[in-house]
Amino acid sequence: MTHALETRNLSKRFGSLVATNDVSLSVAKGARHALIGPNGAGKTTLINLLTGVLTPSSGQILLEGEDITATPAHHRVGRGLSRTFQINQLFADFTPLEALMLAIGEREGQGSMAWKPLSKNHAIIDEAASLLDRFRLTDALSTPTKLLPYGKQRLLEIALAIAARPRVLLLDEPAAGVPEEERHEVLGIVRALPADVTVVLIEHDMDLVFSFADRISVLVAGGLFKEGTVEEISHDPQVKAIYLGEDA
């Protein structure tokens, strides 16, 4: 069977620093896969390689069986790979409505239409409106993003990735910085994604990882250290020593 996402001997070197070391990872279709590891283990570098922000030094990346190693970042989105950023990457002056309309419009290939007014695009406006409802951003509809409270910005960050209707969604610490009472709101939205959307989650919060993921990969010093079910990883003595020991 083809995997949703697969890497083969993926490496990334910055000078003498090996940020990603020979990672061969397979994520099954529809999986809820978590990537964990101590700070500096290369989790974000791996996400950047997968999405095309960085070019690997060696190795291959396959999306649904097709080699996308050389595919530019903006084309990977069209192929069904979408992501959120650990630090919000939003459009400061756009309102959430505009940002979502942009993302939906690009998905529909309408981004280069220069003559049709946005206001005539009812299908896109309505879809943006339903996303605003779903992400509890309705009240913030017309407020510039930079004026929104952080929790709302974080929700928009995820909403933008989901507006692309990804088949594989990479979430880089989606709950980071979100006030405790909003965390479950964020994760609830991620859990409510259709089962055929594959989700790869990077997260520090172990409660969250254990409650969300069905498989876990542990990264240490750029390399894949261990992979298994939640049960296996949470009871693995080596993982406990290396990683969980720091937190628990």
């Binding site: 999405t51 095309g52 922000v53 530019p72 970042a73 903006h74 084309h75 989105v77 069209g78 992501r83 950023f85 990457q89 939003l90 459009f91 002056d93 756009f94 309102t95 409505l97 505009e98 309309m101 942009l102 993302a103 419009g105 690009e106 998905r107 309408q110 981004g111 280069s112 239409m113 220069a114 003559w115 049709k116 007014p117 946005l118 206001s119 695009n121 009812h122 896109i124 406006i125 309505d126 409106a129 339903s130 605003l132 409802d133 509890r136 309705t138 009240d139 913030a140 509809l141 017309s142 407020t143 510039p144 929104l148 409270p149 929790g151 709302k152 990735a161 507006a163 692309a164 909003e182």
Partner: protein
Amino acid sequence: MTAPVETQKLARDWISRSNRVRLWEIALWVIAVAAIFLLPSKLLILTEITILAIFALSLDLILGYAGIVSLGHTAFFGLGAYAAGILARDYVSEPVTGLIFAGFISGLFGFATSFLVLRGSDLTRLMTTFGVAMLLAEVANQAAWLTGGADGLSGIMLTPILGLFEFDLFGRNGYVYALVVLAVLTFIARRLVHSPYGLSLKALKLNPRRSAMIGISATRRIVAIYTLSAVYAGMAGALLAQTTSFVSPDVLAFHRSAEVLLVLVIGGTGYLYGGVVGAIIFTLLRDWLSVVTPQYWMFWIGLILIALVLIGRERLTRWPALLNRKATTRAATQLAEEPR
């Protein structure tokens, strides 16, 4: 939580509102037209303002919407002026034909040089655009057989506009002609910036990294707007050549690139009318200062520029945004205080 249909209505209303023609826009056009009758002795300077406004609008398209800085935008202005001038001198003397021809030639040149601004930092872009303008200025200077070299291009004889309206001594038809061109180009630009394409340009300016991650291919979008901006600048140059029947090598000089940037800084970027507002303020200020202090007007312009940038261009010049800001801030405060 709001019901879905209600949100749709909110969203549709808000988008329509943000696209609506504002009262001050209408007022501006009414004044511009009224000036034909009310200021018959000032039509030459009004024509000059209109041409400068078109040139600044052209720069606003790339600077205000796509975030591309340029220190050589006069390359397109000058090229358009020469193209229109040479066409009128040697081949076709009908102005609108010349206007379109100039736009086409400048657009072609803009398209060819757009790859220079695709990547790189602001500094790279400043230097490459600056370099292109310098190159072109030297070419125009050396090709005296075609351009008249340092003496400028003279002998431009124009037939009536569309065969109907002759350029008169008072510059009345010239002003109307320039104003119509400004109106048409503003209409097109307005349509463009309120389209999905316009939204994607602003996105590229605000956050190129995120833009890539929602699937925007920056290259084509930037090439297209840069080319269009060059067309606009070329048409502004053509208008100058046609209304003055002369092309001075000065059209490619550095000070023109700097001037148009200054105009846009004064008027504000990213709302389409910055060029118009800036051109009016700049031209009137320059004329007034050069009468009051003929030798030191540049000094005052410089001082004003520094003040503008220090006080904050946005705060001082984006007056439409300023009017909306209070309401927006209030809404945000309410949102923040709302119990979660």
